[in-house]
């Protein structure tokens, strides 16, 4: 039996320079098919081309843990795109 298609709804957070480029700190996104963090970023990079330039220096997190770009999203996830950190 094929798996039943389910809507995947995630919260997306932007910080630092990425927040400035995206124009907001928080968004929500919905998908009907399996989606990875990489694909989620690509969606925003297409919408805000400035974001794409920073891809190589962005680190992603899923539910407050650093995550690989090929991580599949699950409904309810909180994904954040983080520029290089500069605390201290």
């Amino acid at each position: 039996m094929p798996p039943v298609s389910q809507t995947i709804r995630v919260t997306v957070l932007f910080f630092g320079r990425l927040k400035d480029l995206a124009g907001h700190a928080e968004d929500s996104a919905e998908f009907s098919d399996a989606t990875t963090i990489e694909q989620l970023f690509a969606l925003y990079a297409a919408r805000y081309p400035e974001l794409a330039k920073y891809r190589s220096s962005v680190v992603a997190s899923r539910n407050q843990e650093f995550a690989a770009w090929d991580t599949p999203l699950r409904s309810g996830d909180e994904v954040a795109f983080l520029p290089p950190v500069s605390g201290g």
Binding site: R17, Q64, F66, A68, G87
Partner: protein, 158 residues
């Protein structure tokens, strides 16, 4: 104050950090040393005079990462207690942005743990600072946190 195993303290605050109080909180009669790190706002960046800094954090994750550093230094070094506090929002020149105090029976462990804690904080805790100058503002250059390169794949059934 939030306390955890070992009675450690991890906080993000928007008010000035009471460094003297924190250094006192971690010390106990069985200790012989407290090592502290006081990071404060410098008056210039790359030879440009700084007006002030503005810090922001991914707060829930930053606290998680700070607690992880605490657990790591308890595992690596023979220490007693840790206090680690980072301030957020607008900070003026000379104000403390981050303060770490580590107590231990002997000084070497306290020095090593405090150094490891601030170095790891600067590399892994999601906090960012924006530097304000006379002619504008920039996000400070930062460090890339270590992130997994790829998700581990489930082994195919044999």
């Amino acid at each position: 104050m939030a306390t955890l195993p070992h009675n450690d303290i991890f906080q993000l605050v928007r008010e000035p950090i009471d460094t003297v109080a924190l250094a006192g909180v971690v010390r106990a009669p069985e200790d012989g040393a407290v090592v502290t790190f006081d990071g404060f706002v410098r008056n210039q960046s790359h030879n440009r005079p700084t007006l002030y800094l503005d810090y922001e954090a991914y707060e829930s994750m930053a606290l998680t990462k700070m607690r992880e550093i605490g657990l790591q230094i308890h595992e690596k070094y023979r220490i007693h207690r840790v206090a680690m506090v980072h301030r957020l929002g607008r900070l003026e020149i000379g104000e403390t942005s981050v303060f770490i105090a580590v107590s231990a029976p002997h000084r070497a462990a306290a020095f090593d743990a405090c150094r490891f804690a601030i170095d790891t904080l600067k590399r892994t805790v999601p906090i960012w600072k924006k530097e304000y100058f006379e002619d504008g503002a920039v996000w400070a250059d930062g460090e890339m946190p270590p992130a997994p390169a790829a998700t581990p794949r489930a082994k195919p059934a044999s």
